[in-house]
């Protein structure tokens, strides 16, 4: 079996590939997308123009994109934090739910404290709850060597079930007491609503600023602190970490905790800045946790880049929604988004390998 092409591991990875390849990936995605659109009888240029207009151009749409981007920025950070150490935390989804749960409780319970304090309390509650929830996964991994992919995924379902139960199948604190037979979630008090600043008439949610700050903080932690150094060594070589006296187990738990805290903060932001209540159905539909993995991957696990990739994804998502219609099936939107992901992954492979033609021996030796 001979294929005309083969992959060969690169021994030398030129630095400039780090930005050249993602760029090529993006262009490739656009071209592939154009082909798909053209085959389905659409004018690719027109569609791309629409995507741009509805995702990014103009103050209104850009404000909307910021709103969509905020939770993704946090779940992107969640994935980046863990993946950098080789911990595959796919539980951002569940950790975000738990953050939403805790922040909502705070937002309902404290009804006469200043908004600033409220924001801090909700954020801390969301981070703690998401962090603890992820910490369990880390603890299982550190203590018993349990595969974190499986446990974190299972805990996503667990969180979804819990939230649904609290709002729809019980008379819990999170259910609106006046909703009667039509269960609906209970809103946080008005004072608990997070600010959105208007800058040049663009609505900038305070949570998005937090995401940017978090991006820088995490970048700093990983680059400049002892903890970050330890994480890097563990990711590079667990044996060397052990040899150097690095406490791998506790680092795993801490990294998972930090990762979960990011998703949890995303959950708090979702409640405080946008939804105002814990909304199991809405959260499930959005799938922020899973998209966050894509965000982190596209950002090549760079925390600061993650925030901006989230903005791109948020814009594309919004554009996708507005494209949908009788003439534009949602499957096609999904296909376009899939192509972007596909190109990103292909780009990742191209950084590590190079493609070679499988020429015949005689040709290879020829002078």
């Amino acid at each position: 079996m001979r294929s005309p092409l083969r992959l060969e591991r690169r021994l030398e990875q030129p630095k400039r590939l780090n930005w050249v390849i993602p760029l090529i990936s993006l262009v490739a995605a656009l071209i592939l997308g154009a082909i798909v659109l053209w085959v389905t009888g659409k004018n690719p240029f027109e569609v791309y123009q629409r995507i741009f207009e509805r995702g990014f151009a103009g103050r209104r749409v850009f404000s909307d994109s910021l709103v969509s981007a905020t939770p993704l920025a946090f779940t992107g950070l969640c994935a980046a934090v863990a993946f950098r150490m080789g911990l595959i935390n796919v539980g951002g989804e569940g950790q975000l739910y738990m953050g939403s749960l805790a922040a909502t409780w705070v937002g309902i319970t404290f009804d006469n404290i200043p908004t600033g304090l409220m924001i801090v309390l909700m954020a801390v509650a969301g981070m703690s709850c998401g962090g603890l929830y992820a910490g369990i996964v880390g603890l299982l991994r550190a203590r018993f060597g349990t595969n974190e992919i499986i446990t974190s995924l299972m805990m996503n379902y667990l969180a979804a079930i819990l939230l649904t139960y609290l709002v729809y199948n019980s008379f819990s604190y999170w259910r609106d007491p006046v909703s009667g037979n039509f269960p609906s979630p209970r809103a946080i008090t008005q004072r608990a609503e997070w600010n959105t600043f208007a800058i040049f008439e663009i609505g900038l949610p305070i949570a998005f600023l937090m995401a940017i700050a978090m991006g820088f903080i995490i970048w700093f932690i990983y680059k400049r602190t002892r903890f970050g150094f330890e994480v890097g060594v563990i990711a590079d070589s667990p044996k060397a970490a052990r040899y150097a006296g690095i406490r791998t187990s506790s680092t795993i738990v801490l990294v998972m905790g930090l990762s979960g805290a990011m998703a949890g903060l995303g959950g708090a932001a979702d409640v405080g800045n946008f939804r105002r209540y814990m909304d199991p159905k809405g959260l499930e539909l959005s799938g922020y946790g899973y998209t966050g993995i894509v965000v982190a991957a596209l950002a090549r696990l760079n925390p600061i880049a993650s925030v901006f990739v989230a903005l791109l994804m948020g814009g594309l998502n919004n554009a996708g929604y507005s494209l949908r219609g009788p003439d534009f099936p949602s499957g096609l939107v999904g296909t376009l988004q899939g192509l972007i992901l596909f190109s990103a992954v292909a780009g990742e492979i191209l950084i590590k390998y190079r493609v070679k033609s499988n020429s015949r021996p005689s040709e290879a030796v020829a002078a």
Partner: protein, 510 residues
């Protein structure tokens, strides 16, 4: 050996960011010869081999194979032209059989292999070249020496006319090395050529027909082995004479003060078998204790348990009369145990990390390097610059990943860190493996200097000469036990050799 030229490389230039690894190298390999490639660490030997076997592409220069100018863009191309390389790190699939590994990756158009046919062919090759290995055995069952034979078989199976072996003997026991030499000669007699890279001049003298010496990426010269000597080769390589006589101690060991005490330590290995049986011994202040033995007799476990990487099932260890928390690397480090492990690239160093980070790997928690849990990047860099200079590490800068350094320079990074930690006990496993003669001399001097300053050294080595020329006392290990304990001066090589091999000693200790 004929005068027919199998491979000619001329004017080869290969640049990497910050270094010129090959700077106009000329190399001529005749058909049927064993050609040794010699040179200091970082001289460009591996790079040159990697170009010949198609892993790297030369920036300049010409490669001719059997008189035809060739350019390889992958190892497969090179192999098709009859050139194969055996790397120092094997690329075998542990769960596959020998025969399966031999045919693996050979895409000749067929999806299925004829097991019997392949096994027969492998058997035939292994008989012809004295490469004793069972074609039906699985890789994980084989010793390192046997795995290397499989790598050689792999290359031979594909009909290679020129074999490149990069430091093949670094991982072999002396007996295995001797059998490898027999194989190399058998290949020469059949008209195949061998390029043999080694830092051991004795081996080069014993096995090669001609020697080419590289220095600083350039060819210094090619000489007939019969017309040279180890002394000449050494001075060609490093540009000065090197001698390996017993290094003189400035201060004798003070055995009345114990720096390391190991009592009744038992350990299990990775597969759960007991690999150390109630080991007890002590090291005095400034004493160099050599551990002799064939690899795999518990030496690695001994080093690991003392440095806290492995948890013992029984026993006590104390440093300077203070009992050590066992199985805790951090405790071992802070009580002054330095460790140069056998497996450098994966255990001793984080290969993807920079030289400067690796040099801080053990002391990043100290006040010099970090404050309030923040790293002082500048301090890390300064420490690295000092150490790189003092230990003569050849690297373009301190932020280059260790993985990109030459084999010997990787080892120097590790040694620099461990020596500079001002330890009270230093465990060194084959510290000079992979180093050039000049660097070996330096390391030996440093070991002795450390001992002179009062460090207790545990020198684990398979190289009996090294132990004999450095150690004050020798422990012989066999099957997880110390079977002999004798002073090094006047030690009887014969007796050590025998006890290493497990023959009964009348005075086995404990």
């Amino acid at each position: 050996m004929t005068d027919q030229v199998a491979v000619r490389m001329s004017g080869i230039v290969k640049r990497f960011p910050g270094v010129v690894a090959n700077d106009g190298v000329d190399l001529e390999i005749r058909a049927g010869e064993v050609h040794a490639l010699l040179g200091e660490n970082g001289a460009g030997k591996s790079t040159l081999s990697n170009i010949l076997c198609g892993l790297y592409r030369a920036d300049e220069g010409v490669v001719e194979v059997a008189g035809r100018q060739s350019e390889f863009s992958s190892p497969r191309d090179a192999l098709n032209a009859g050139i194969g390389m055996v790397h120092q790190h094997f690329r075998l699939v542990p769960t596959f059989t020998v025969a399966e590994n031999v045919v693996l990756g050979e895409s000749d158009g067929s999806l299925f292999m004829n097991h019997d046919q392949v096994a027969a062919r492998v058997q035939e090759l292994s008989d012809r070249y004295a490469l004793a290995v069972d074609p039906t055995a699985r890789i994980w069952q084989l010793s390192v020496g046997e795995q290397q034979r499989v790598e050689i078989l792999k290359v031979l199976y594909r009909g290679a006319k020129v074999l490149i072996l990069d430091e093949p003997t670094a991982v072999l026991t002396p007996i295995e090395a001797r059998s490898l030499f027999a194989t190399l000669r058998a290949m020469g007699e059949e008209g195949r050529s061998v390029i043999f890279i080694s830092h051991k001049l004795g081996e080069v003298m014993a096995v090669s027909d001609r020697v080419t010496v590289l220095r600083g990426g350039r060819t210094v010269g090619t000489v007939d082995t019969s017309e040279t000597s180890t002394r000449d080769l050494a001075s060609l390589m490093v540009g000065r004479s090197v001698d390996f006589d017993r290094v003189v101690r400035a201060t004798p060991a003070d055995t009345d003060t114990t720096v390391l005490r190991v009592e009744d330590v038992s350990v299990t290995d990775d597969r759960g078998r007991v690999s150390l049986h109630q080991i007890s011994f002590t090291i005095g202040r400034g004493e160099i204790v050599g551990v002799a033995g064939v690899a795999g007799n518990g030496q690695r476990e001994l080093a690991e348990v003392i440095s806290g990487i492995r948890v013992p099932i029984a026993g006590r260890i104390s440093v300077m009369d203070e009992e050590l928390k066992l199985g805790k690397a951090r405790a071992a480090i802070s009580s002054g145990i330095a460790h140069v492990p056998e497996d450098r690239l994966h255990t001793g160093l984080a290969a993807g990390h920079s030289v400067e980070d690796n040099l801080a790997l053990k002391n990043y928690r100290s006040v010099q390097i970090s404050k309030f849990r923040l790293l002082k990047r500048r301090a890390i860099r300064e420490q690295a610059s000092t150490l790189v200079e003092r230990y003569d590490v050849k690297t373009p800068d301190t932020v280059t990943p260790v993985r990109l350094l030459s084999g010997g320079n990787v080892q120097k990074v590790l040694l620099a860190r461990e020596f500079s930690a001002l330890p009270s006990v230093l465990i060194a496993a084959s510290p000079t493996r992979g180093l050039d003669v000049g660097a070996i001399e330096t390391v030996r001097e440093r070991l002795v200097a450390a001992a002179d300053e009062g460090v207790g050294v545990l020198l684990i080595s398979e190289d009996l000469d090294e132990i004999l020329s450095l150690a004050d006392r020798i422990l012989v290990m066999y099957e997880g036990r110390i079977v002999d304990d004798l002073p090094a001066t006047g030690a009887d090589r014969e007796r050590i050799g025998l006890t290493m091999g497990g023959s009964n000693t009348t005075e086995a200790v404990k």
